[in-house]
Structures are given as C-alpha cells and as structure tokens.
Symmetry: C2
Subunit: 295 residues, 2 copies
C-alpha cells in the first residue's frame, strides 16, 4: 500500500511552534483500492503544498473565534494545494497584494508607498503593482540578499531593517513622507511608520507577523497621529473578496505576458521538510513564496 | 482705561499643565480710543470663551507639526469665541460629533455603538444622533452623575469606567458586539474595545484624551484584531469639513425644535477661572461642554 505523509498538529504553541512538540510529520498507509469515496468525491494526489503565515494563527485555542477555524489536535494541517503559481503569484498571496493595495491603499500616481516584508509572497507583488501604477516604492526586508532582489525589481529604495535604523532610513528614502503603508509585520515598524505618514495616508493592515510568536506586545508611541493626520487603518481578509479573483487573474496574466511582474518562489523538496520550512517562514529564513514540492 | 484679561502660555508642559508655571492669567489695560485698527478690522468684546481638549495639543514644541499651530510662549491662548450654543451643540464639538459619526461611523439602524467620554461636549451629541438613527447606544463616563445624565438621554446602557470593569460591562451591555466605536479617549479603553468589535466594525478616531498628559504609553494587546475582524480605524479633524457646516446646523436646529436633542453645558463664570476649568477638562472634572462666561 502507498504511504501518505501528513504534518500533524499536536499541541497549541505559546511562542514559536517546536517541531516534534507542536507539529510533526506522520507517515500512514493509504489503501487506494478501498478508499471510502462518496458519490462525486475525488481522491487527489498533491503535487505542491503552500505554507503561509496564517497557518500559525490556526494553531490556537479553538475557543478563540477568528476568520478561519483553528486546527484540530491530532489532525493534519490543512493548506492550499494547486499548481505552483496558483498558490503564489496567481493564487492567494498575489490576490492579497492586489486586493489590499487597490481596495484599501487606493494608490495614485506619484504617491509614495512603503512595504514591510517586501520580498515575501505578498510584499513582492504589492511593490511591483505599485511600480506599474507609477508610485515611488520603498521596501524593507530582513537580509541583504532580499534587498538585492528588491533592487532587481526596480524598487526606488529598500533597506535591511535588521541592520539599519528604520526611522533614519524612512527619513532618507521618503523625503516627502509616506502615503500608503502596506503593513505585513505590525509592531515596532508600524509604530515608526505612523510618524512618517502624510495627512490622509492609508495603512493596509494585511498582517502582523512580528507579533504571531511574540507574547511581549510592542509599546506604541505614535497612535495619536491617527487623529491628527486623519489616517485610515483598515484590515481585510482576502477570502472575503473571491468574487473578484477572475478579474485579478486576468490582469495579472496580462502583466506576466508583458514581463512586468516577476515572482520569487522558495521551493522546498519533500513534505518531510515542511515543518522546518514553516518555522523558517515564521523567522524570516524563507526568501519568496514558500512552496513544498511533494512529488 | 478698561482692563483686558488673557490666559498666557508660559512654558511647554510635560504632563498636566500647572497653573502659574505653564499657563497664567495676566491683566493688561486696553486703550479702546486709540486701538490700532486697520480698514475693515473690528474690535470685539468677548462674551463666552470655549475651552477644548485640543488646546492641550497646542501647548507643544513648535517644531512638532500638527493640524493647528502651536501656542506661542508669552502670548495669550486663542480659542473660539461666539455665543454659548455656537461654541457647543451648534458649534465645533457638535459638528465634530456629526461629521465623525456620519462620515466614518456610517451608522445603520439596529447597529450597536459604544462611545467613550460619552457625557462630554462631543460624546453627548454622538449618542443622541445615534439614538435618532435607531442604533443601540452604550456609553462610558467617569462619574455616577455623568452616568445618570446618559440614562436621562435614553442611552441603552452606560457605565462608570472608573468604578467598573470595562471588559465585563461591554460583555454585558453589548451581547451582540460593537459595530461602531466613537473613540474620544484612546489607550486602554480602545484596546479593550477592539476585542468586542464585530467584523467590519468602524472606529471613529476622534481623540485620545487619556494620552494627552500621560507619557507612559498603554501597551496594546489587541491590535491584531484589526486584520482578523477587518476593522476600519480612521482619524479626522473637524476643520477639514466646514463646507458642510450649514447642512449640519440646519439638521441640528430641526432636531432641537423637535426636542430630540439636549445639551449639557458646564459654565464657568469669569476668565480668572479659565485656567482651573481647563485643568478640570483634562482630568474629567468638567461635566458637559466647558464654556467660560466672560461678561
Ligand atoms: N489579510 C490577508 O488576507 C492575508 C493574506 C495573506 C497573507 N497575509 C499576511 O501577510 C503577511 C505576509 O505574508 P506572506 O505570505 O507574504 O509571507 P512572507 O512575507 O513570504 O514570509 C513571512 C516574512 O515575514 C517576515 N517576518 C517574519 N518574522 C518577522 C518578525 N518577527 N518581524 C518582522 N518580519 C518578520 C520575514 O521577512 P523578512 O526577512 O523581510 O523579515 C518573512 O520572510 C503576513 O503577515 C501574513 O499573515 C494576510
Ligand atoms: N478630531 C476632531 O476634530 C476633534 C474635535 C473636537 C474634539 N475632539 C476630541 O474629542 C474628545 C472629546 O472632546 P470634548 O470636547 O467632547 O471634551 P469633553 O468630553 O467635554 O471633556 C473631556 C472628557 O474626557 C474625559 N477624560 C479626561 N481625561 C481622561 C483620561 N485620562 N482618560 C479617559 N477619559 C478622560 C473626561 O470625561 P470622563 O469623566 O467621562 O472621563 C472629560 O470630561 C477629545 O479627545 C478631543 O480631543 C476631536
């Protein structure tokens, strides 16, 4: 009988998940001949598995309600499973970039956008769409090779927030202030950005990955700017917008054809490496959209 | 020669302003006969003086830019100076309530609104407009007599946040969650409210008075709800909206005629009592719109 591997959710982590303690690879056998299929069911063989930060949010106490249900202890982690680009650029993360930027950011030619986690699955798409729309695009990321990639994407400026002073870099790279902040990280970066925003700026609250595994909240100093600068901060969940996925994919394919968009994937071979790849995603060791190639 | 009293700005306060150190009453003489008036100038005699929380924001280092210019050391504090209701219900605070609620809150019949500093110059108007529009209206304020007033205004629920547990009260009074939070105070209250908001809730960021004199920022624990509950937080400054003041005053006068709106004023006699009245406003000892009756 063929074997079937799954990453099992074992216990709710408090900080970063620990492999073996909170998540673990389990191999089981699957009897394909006698697999119980109801009428209309299909048994699929996965080729690619997507790892995304939101999966950390599902490793929670099931009593805490949120936009996706929590993982069940003892069951496999669920994820999205289509062909490579369909889990990245043309899939959920690319669509997240498109919806967040257009619906909340409302970009206008000549404006300045700043993007955190700018080389990631979502961030790299945000920056390239913003360039297409004629914005000045500044990004931050956590390694020099990521910054080099942002330069290749023709970002107008980029800096490594781990080795540079965020406040100083923003002062230098955004001399006319920031009109849109596409926030993937929350915490300290968000706080510093508030002081660089222009009047009527928009903050696209896409994610707060710096907080997912850290139980010591950041102490915000600049929230009063929300009032005095008439700032809009708005969260969104991409799942709410799937009625627009067709027009998104159409526009994105056009940009791809015209060579206006690149997409960096971080492909991990073998499901046995998925737990570590997930940890790498949560600690910034990934570079681009994390995809597990299963077969 | 008649004397002319003014409250002079003496030094930039760090926490609460201290009378004598940061602000002080100064009496000068004014030579009405020979007062230097340019063509078209009018010399006015003030009857009422408005004291408002934003005046604390003007007592800052002039190098910090904001929506109104900072006060100049050695000069008198400027304020708004028309007839009683024109500095309250029909003036700046009433208009603030109207604009913030309508433009950002976007109230819909049957929704639940929560208002902090609900008995104040702005808050009492927000609550009454929301009642007219068919919302469930809950408020918090800092004394039992203020809560009694909110009951008189037919609020659906109100609590004294100084003697009650905010989280427990909101659980009890907003069993279906909160759709609109009209935020006058920021800080801890805002943080707790985030956990009670419904999906797609709106936070009207009107002011953060709990922070104006306090240099120890609140440690926010619930900001991630902005993403997961698709929350909108938006700041505004009423000055930006004066093109709509006529339609506001028309609607408000109609409500007044129909006895749908009451307005509590906290009238202080004599400009010599203005510094203390301003301190009272910043510490919550006022009750309703603070107005100084000058003559
Ligand atoms: N709202 C939605 O519907 C929606 C949908 C998809 C994704 N998201 C959110 O969007 C954000 C980006 O997701 P993604 O899929 O594009 O992931 P990603 O950027 O490909 O990977 C996560 C990146 O976050 C950065 N990071 C990790 N830990 C961090 C920390 N402690 N502080 C600061 N940065 C840290 C790392 O980049 P650096 O090396 O540059 O730090 C890491 O590579 C996440 O917050 C995610 O939850 C939201
Ligand atoms: N965005 C704009 O354009 C605009 C325009 C006008 C006013 N505002 C803002 O709206 C808010 C209300 O202004 P208002 O004129 O209506 O003042 P108000 O409510 O009449 O007076 C201020 C009230 O704030 C409360 N307060 C004072 N210190 C506090 C603290 N440390 N923590 C919590 N609450 C505190 C007190 O009420 P309790 O006893 O109930 O605590 C006090 O009575 C202020 O934040 C102000 O800056 C904004």
């Amino acid at each position: 009988m063929p074997s079937n591997n799954g990453i099992i959710f074992k216990a709710i982590p408090d900080g970063y998940p620990v492999i073996g303690e909170h998540i673990e690879l389990v191999t089981r056998e699957i009897d394909i001949e006698n697999f119980p299929l109801a009428d209309g069911d299909i048994l699929v063989k996965n080729q690619y598995l997507s790892l995304d930060p939101y999966m950390r949010g599902r490793m929670r106490n099931p009593q805490i309600k949120s936009y996706v249900k929590s993982y069940e202890i003892g069951k496999a982690l669920e994820g999205h499973v289509p062909k490579s680009y369909f889990i990245g650029l043309l899939g959920m993360p690319g669509f997240t970039a498109y919806i967040g930027l257009n619906k909340i950011g409302k970009p206008k030619e000549g404006e300045t956008i700043f993007i955190s986690a700018a080389s990631g699955a979502v961030g790299q798409v945000v920056g390239q769409i913003a360039k297409i729309k004629g914005l000045r695009v500044i990004g931050s990321a956590g390694s020099d090779s990521k910054i080099k990639y942002l330069d290749e994407l023709n970002f107008d400026g980029a800096f490594n927030y781990k080795t540079r002073n965020i406040d100083e870099e923003l002062t230098k790279l955004c001399p006319n202030g920031i009109d849109i902040y596409f926030d993937n990280v929350g915490g300290e970066t968000l706080d510093i950005v508030l002081s660089h925003l222009n009047d009527n700026a928009r903050v696209v609250a896409c994610g707060m990955i710096s907080r997912y595994n850290d139980n010591n909240p950041h102490v915000f100093k600049n929230l009063m700017y929300i009032v005095t600068k008439r700032i809009l901060i708005q969260g969104f969940i991409v799942l709410d917008h799937y009625q627009e996925v067709d027009s998104f994919q159409k526009e994105m394919r056009e940009w791809l054809k015209q060579d206006k968009i690149k997409y960096k994937e971080d492909i991990v071979e073998g499901i046995q490496n998925a737990p570590e790849a997930f940890l790498n995603l949560l600690t910034g060791k990934n570079f681009g959209k994390v995809i597990v190639k299963i077969c």
